[in-house]
């Protein structure tokens, strides 16, 4: 290799390293504090790793707080939302990708505009709508609200995946004897699995993180989700950093796992969309 090229490669790897460190350092710090024993927390200051580690914070969070309930609630809400949204978005994304119909333009416009709503504005009206239905303080209510919020973006995501699949395949299936819906289910959907994975992961992560509506629609611990739990925890034990960060690490795990599984499909899906546009 020429020295110039070597230098360039070195700079490239160096820059990448800076990014990786920047991305991971805050998460690393979270983990570090969560395993630092209380008596070392103040004395060891900015040390990169404590001289002694402990899991007592995790123990406390899991055994002596409502976190297991929060965790379960969040899993249910995020999982159900992800599934509902993916089903709805597959259908509507398919409609946008494969049909040309009069209202298409308006549907796209509506979905784009919903992305601009200041969601705070919707809290009171939604609360008033859900309350007589008994859907406040319920996980079902959260699933409905989260599903609505996430359907527009998920629709565009699925549409870009469908756009990447040649129309010939449905036509062949329809000539083979399938209705369009059967072709969609048996031929197109199986080919969109990466897209479905990406959508599932995206929506799961979004629902896992949602704070505002979880805070407003839920009162009491029974139906509280992880973000709400963590926030109450923070305001209640605001000096017990070890326990808070242990809770934070736990909150991080499912979302990050999901994300690591689907992130490569995300780029793929957007590439397919970009090729078309």
């Amino acid at each position: 290799m020429r020295p110039g090229k070597l230098l360039l490669t070195g700079a490239h790897r160096g820059a990448i390293l800076v990014y990786v460190v920047f991305a991971l350092f805050p998460l690393f710090w979270l983990l570090k504090v969560s395993v630092t024993p209380n008596d070392l927390l103040y004395s060891e200051g900015v040390r990169m790793w404590p001289s002694r580690t402990t899991f007592e914070h995790f123990d406390f969070v899991i055994a002596h707080s409502a976190f297991p309930t929060f965790f379960k609630n969040s899993l249910i809400v995020s999982g159900a939302t992800a599934i509902v949204v993916t089903i709805l978005a597959s259908l509507s994304g398919y409609a946008l990708s494969r049909f040309s119909f009069k209202a298409k333009y308006w549907i796209v416009a509506l979905m784009l505009i919903t992305q601009m709503f200041p969601l705070v504005m919707l809290v009171a009206p939604i609360f008033r709508m859900l309350s007589p239905l008994g859907l406040t303080n319920s996980l079902t209510g959260l699933v409905i609200v989260y599903s609505a919020f996430n359907v527009p973006f998920a629709t565009f995501l699925m549409q870009s995946f469908f756009d990447g699949i040649p129309k010939d395949l449905e036509e062949a299936a329809m000539i083979d004897g399938a209705t369009q819906f059967v072709a969609f289910r048996q031929i197109i959907l199986p080919l969109t699995l990466p897209g479905i994975a990406a959508t599932l992961g995206f929506v799961f992560t979004a629902a896992w993180s949602e704070l505002l509506f979880a805070l407003m629609l839920i009162s009491g611990n029974d139906a509280a989700t992880f973000p709400v739990g963590l926030l109450t925890f923070v305001s209640k034990f605001s000096v017990d950093f070890g326990q808070m960060m242990a809770a934070g690490v736990l909150a991080l795990i499912p979302a990050c796992l999901f994300f690591l599984l689907i992130q490569r499909y995300l780029v793929q899906g957007l590439t397919a969309g970009a090729v078309k546009g």
């Binding site: 820059a15 990448i16 990786v20 991305a23 710090w29 259908l91 504005m121 992560t205 963590l230 793929q268």
Partner: protein, 307 residues
Amino acid sequence: MMHQSMKQNRPPLRKRIADASEPYLYSAPALILIVAVMLVPLVVGISYAFRDIQLLNPFSGGFIGLDHFRALSQDDAFFGALRNTLWWTGASVFFQFTFGLILALLLDKPFYGRGLVQALVFLPWAVPSFLAGLNWAWLFNPVIGPLPHWLYALGLLDEPHNILSDPHLAMWGPIVANVWWGIPFFAITLLAALQAIPRDLYEAASIDGAGPVQRFMSITLPFLAPTIAITVLLRTVWISNFADLIVVMTNGGPADRTQIVASYIFTQAFKRLDFGYASAIALVLLVLLLVYSMLIVLLRQTMLNKG
């Protein structure tokens, strides 16, 4: 029988209805949900802007016309929040985009372990926003976080104190957290767009004698331009609405120095329980964002027409 012998060319009514309704059947479930849970509440929310809605006041609820907007025009805190929103949105989008683009360019080159690196640098996106806020608040906390000490060591701070409680620096806290959290979004979209550029274009340009800078200017940028335009637009709108980090990290303080319009609405609604006033502010924000989007779209249209 009659109908068949008439050889009419229009298909039978039933088939026409079935054909025309098919796309609507596919999109109906999603649409119903969006209309019921977003559009209807939005309309109701807009009506709140013209009513006196206070959650704890049983006598509230009356129609008060433009009173909220009159009050708003006198509200210094609102105008302060508007200025802060510009600052917050501008700085966040600028840094997210710049670092996102650089990251996308770095990742577009094949190297050993690219898949792993990609997964790691995109990870912040998966971190729940409130947790990202808490995490950065902790990092800025001199008791348990290293950042104040490092900034002090670098000579950027006089003493290792928490910048989140310093009125002059506080806004940088949420912005840094937002940049950390938002780089992956830009990087992912731009990387996808980069990978869609046909490779032979670069080869052709190299053969024609274009250097790396010229190749970037004459191929990469024009190809990325539509993606950049749309992501910057969406992101700007989204970030101006995005109050989570600020609410978690500073709650608008100190002295309203980090109060943006979105967090101001939040405060009005949930601290003072004045939903009518909060809705009026939200409506103003929505209109501003719509106007902004329209301007960008128009600008893009005129630029396209010229090109």
